[in-house]
């Protein structure tokens, strides 16, 4: 295939070559512009997974790099909704890994201008209000008591934890401004073995 392309490329005229190279470069630039950046602005650490009977309990801390733009957005009453995705993946030596459980939770931080408080709605939809933003953020970053279960067949499993800013919940102009990467906040998948917890 490559040989064929190279032969074709050698045969065509220099002007056509320039046009093809320019066209491909343009496509690459556009594609790169429209691809969401997966820069990891959330770091998941202190992950604790405990098991009680068939019920698993997950706790972890997060470190989020919230720059001044995001802080300003919070103060401008823009609610930030984070999406927490849990996936339990069954491992297999022969076949590709298979997701056997997927659970999505949301938590958010919002500034209430009338009352001048920062309100946190946690993964269990419990509301917490704080006078200071940092306090609210600290509360929001600590995830505790996330319970989940799945049918354990005694195999090796992995728990994939992913936290991202839910861009769809942002105001419309911020959603469609693909060129602004401020709102591309993602932790990437934090993977943990859960097969041998017993």
């Amino acid at each position: 295939m490559t040989d064929c392309f190279m032969r074709f490329f050698k045969k065509i005229k220099i002007k056509i070559k320039i046009i093809i190279v320019l066209f491909i470069s343009l496509l690459l630039v556009i594609g790169n512009t429209f691809t969401l950046s997966n820069e990891r602005k959330i770091i998941i650490n202190d992950v604790v997974i405990s098991k009680n009977s068939d019920l698993y309990n997950l706790s972890f801390n997060q470190e989020i790099k919230l720059d001044y733009l995001i802080r300003e957005a919070i103060n401008k009453a823009i609610p930030l909704v984070f999406k927490l995705t849990l996936k339990v993946v069954k491992l297999n030596e022969i076949f590709p890994a298979k997701t056997i459980k997927k659970e999505v939770r949301y938590y958010e931080i919002e500034y209430k201008t009338l009352r001048k408080i920062y309100r946190i709605i946690d993964i269990n939809e419990q509301r917490h209000e704080y006078k200071k933003m940092d306090e609210a953020i600290q509360k929001m970053l600590k995830i505790e008591g996330l319970e989940f279960s799945f049918v354990d067949e005694g195999m090796d499993y992995e728990l994939w934890v992913n936290v991202s800013l839910e861009r769809k919940k942002l105001p419309k102009p911020l959603q469609v401004n693909f060129f602004n990467q401020t709102w591309s906040i993602n932790s990437g998948d934090s993977i943990h073995k859960i097969g041998t917890l017993d």
Binding site: I19, F34, T113, P173
Partner: protein, 706 residues
């Protein structure tokens, strides 16, 4: 390619519509579909740019190769593109400016201040209400702390009712409800928030609580300080709703303020996305119009290119080129007219070609006639420049078979003194011919090659659309005049013979009778005189008889009796009669053909020629006569040469006329008779001087046929 461009243009329009709908549809804009649509649009724009680049490249290649119609197409494409680009760019720039200004105008300082004022007003109102409840809570807490535990419930109810509080609940430090009072009978106190209770134990703490989003409650926690040191620490929780009128207004202001803040924050993004969309729309429209301009330009230029191509073909002489364009517009009419014109032109050209061929045939025919004419023909213009001449004219004037076209007449005629009189006549005629007088002619006697030639020059004016020209007809009429002279001489000879011959015999007889009768009657001396005189008369009469007979022979009517003869045999027989055959040398070709002629007359010819040669050779030391008999095409040539004294130049031109002779005793009728006999046999005779000395007579006789 035009189908591709049409399809691409349709796709572009569809994408434009989808993009416009997506902008106005919040569901679409928030989803991935908008991103995909945007990507598709950009991809499509890139494809359009590529397509247009290819089209431009091809068009420029066509222009470089000078393909018919490519320059017109390029011009039309540029015109269409400029017609599209310039107004769209203006609209685009104005729209961007307008859009930016419009978005900025949303965020007025006054509006922001007003919203902040409204929000602050709501906050202050709530603060006042909160302070009021704080005071009431502290007052109730103080009263309950100083009262007996047994009176606590009734006091709580009384004070709650007195202060107009909706709910009042007393918790202990373990969150156990100690007392409850409410203006609602069905109050089930909610479990308090541990954080609230903890903060409430440390001092007054109040917060605002939203319920179901449209109702705001003020909730305060006030520690109850009991007078008994041993009693548990209690916390008074008061819950008081803010009046709905205030709540609605405050929430409304908060909502608007929040939206305004969000918009303020995202206005740059808003500008970017609107400008991006507008740019995409403009680009799509522009590029689609440019792409479409190629199709339209080609459609416009195609029939014109066909016309140009057909014109080229016609200029090369191809009148069969028909354009197949079937449009009903003006170009269609033009093409139809062009086709009609081409057909007519083709027909006219074919007719013209036929006419030209006819003219060419006529011209060739005329040239052939002129070339074969023994008469010289020259056409002069009014400046006496030769426009046309035939070969005979060239031979006559310059003795060469070359054309004299475009040469001045004076260069040809005036430089040769021989023709000077002729040129003077022509010049005089042309210079004095301003009144278009009729033709003129004149005879000229010229001594050409030491022979007198009679030239008749006739000049005729011609007037045509090219101007005035003159036709000179130059005719050598020497033979005609000679023939006329021979005829005249023949008539003279016949009359002489008739008038002289008759009295000769009586004269001779009378002389002889006188001699016979008086010879014996006279003295000897007188008799001798008489005898000499009568002899002289008789001799002279005999001489006159011979002369008259020769005249009679010359003047006899042309009556010959032809028969089949062999000329070589005839010549040999005649030579045998002469005793001079030792000086005669005959050379003849083999198989000399027979001729059809009068044997006696030809014998007379040979005899006359031989006698002339014999006379010319009398004083020559080594006399020689050569006779050549040769076979020619359709003719037999007989040449008689001698090395005698020859014929003087002065008379050689008229040697065949009677009484023209170089001999002292000759009658001058021998060669005249020869000429007459040869002429009667439709033959030709020519006499020349041989270079050093001698004469050559050449006779041509036709091969015999009855």
């Amino acid at each position: 390619m035009k189908y591709i461009i049409t399809i691409v243009a349709f796709i572009g329009i569809a994408l434009l519509i989808l993009l416009a709908k997506a902008i106005s549809n919040s569901e679409l804009i928030s989803g991935d579909s908008f991103r995909i649509l945007l990507g598709l649009n950009i991809l499509f724009i890139c494809s359009l740019i590529g397509l247009i680049a290819v089209q431009i490249f091809r068009l420029l290649q066509s222009v470089k190769k000078e393909i018919t119609g490519s320059r017109l197409t390029l011009r039309l494409v540029l015109s269409f593109a400029l017609m599209g680009i310039i107004p769209v760019l203006i609209v685009y720039l104005v729209s961007v400016n307008f859009l930016t200004k419009s978005i900025e105008s949303w965020f007025d300082v006054k509006v922001e201040s007003a919203l902040e004022g409204g929000l602050t007003l709501g906050q202050k109102t709530i603060d006042i209400l909160m302070s009021d409840i704080e005071l009431k809570g502290k007052s109730i807490a103080y009263s309950i702390g100083n009262s007996d535990p047994e009176q606590r419930d009734s006091l709580l109810t009384d004070l709650r009712a007195k202060f107009g509080i909706q709910d009042a609940v007393i918790f202990d430090q373990d969150s156990i409800i100690i007392g409850v009072s409410s203006d609602k009978n069905d109050l089930i106190p909610p479990i308090p928030n541990i954080e609230d209770l903890e903060r409430g134990q440390q001092g007054f703490f109040g917060r605002i609580e939203e319920v179901k989003g449209d109702q705001i409650y003020l909730k305060t926690f006030t520690p109850i300080i009991s007078k008994s040191a041993m009693s548990k620490r209690l916390i008074l929780q008061l819950t008081q709703p803010i009046p709905p009128s205030i709540t609605n207004l405050a929430l409304s202001v908060e909502s608007v303020y929040d939206e305004y803040q969000q918009l303020t924050y995202s206005r740059n993004s808003l500008k970017i996305i609107y400008i991006l969309t507008l740019t995409l729309v403009v680009l799509l429209a522009l590029l689609s119009s440019v792409a479409a301009s190629f199709v339209i330009s080609r459609k416009f230029s195609a029939p014109l290119a066909m016309l140009a191509d057909a014109t080229k073909q016609i200029s090369k002489g191809n009148y069969k080129k028909i354009i197949t364009y079937q449009g009903k517009d003006e170009i269609g009419i033009l093409v139809s007219s062009f086709n009609s014109m081409t057909l007519q032109l083709g027909q006219a050209t074919r007719n013209s070609e036929k006419n030209r061929e006819r003219v060419e045939v006529a011209r060739t025919f005329l040239e052939t006639i002129l070339a074969h004419l023994t008469t010289g023909v020259i056409v002069l213009d009014d400046k006496k420049i030769i426009q046309l001449n035939n070969i005979s004219a060239s031979l006559m004037l310059i003795n060469k078979k070359v054309t004299m076209k475009n040469k001045p007449m004076n260069e040809i005629m005036a430089t040769n003194l021989l023709f000077k009189p002729m040129y003077d006549f022509v010049e005089s005629y042309i210079d004095n011919n301003k009144s278009n007088k009729k033709e003129a002619s004149r005879e000229f006697k010229l001594d050409k090659d030491k022979q007198e030639r009679t030239i008749m020059l006739q000049i005729t004016p011609l007037i045509d659309n090219k101007g005035k020209s003159y036709v000179l007809v130059i005719d050598d009429i020497s033979e005609v005049t000679q023939s006329q002279r021979h005829s005249a001489w023949g008539e003279v000879a016949r009359r002489l013979a008739h008038e002289i011959k008759n009295p000769l015999t009586p004269i001779q007889l009378s002389a002889e009778r006188i001699q016979h009768k008086f010879k014996d009657k006279l003295s000897k001396e007188d008799s001798n005189i008489l005898e000499r005189s009568t002899n002289t008369i008789v001799n002279q009469v005999n001489a006159l008889k011979i002369m008259v007979n020769e005249f009679a022979e010359y003047a006899r009517p042309p009556k010959i009796q032809k028969d089949i003869i062999r000329i070589d045999t005839l010549i040999e027989e005649v030579i045998d009669l002469y005793e001079i055959d030792n000086i005669i040398n005959i050379k003849k070709d083999n198989n000399i053909p027979i001729i059809y002629a009068d044997q006696n007359k030809l014998r007379q010819v040979i005899i006359n020629l031989l006698e002339n040669s014999q006379d010319a050779l009398k004083e020559i030391k080594k006399p020689k006569i050569k006779i050549f008999i040769k076979k020619k095409v359709n003719e037999v040539q007989v040449v008689v040469e001698d090395n005698g004294s020859g014929i003087p130049d002065e008379i050689i031109g008229r040697i065949f006329e009677p009484y023209v002779t170089s001999k002292k005793t000759g009658t001058g009728l021998g060669l005249a008779v020869v000429y007459k006999i040869i002429e009667e046999h439709e033959g030709r005779i020519k006499i020349d001087r041989i270079k050093n000395s001698g004469t050559r007579v050449t006779i041509m006789l036709k091969i015999g046929k009855k």
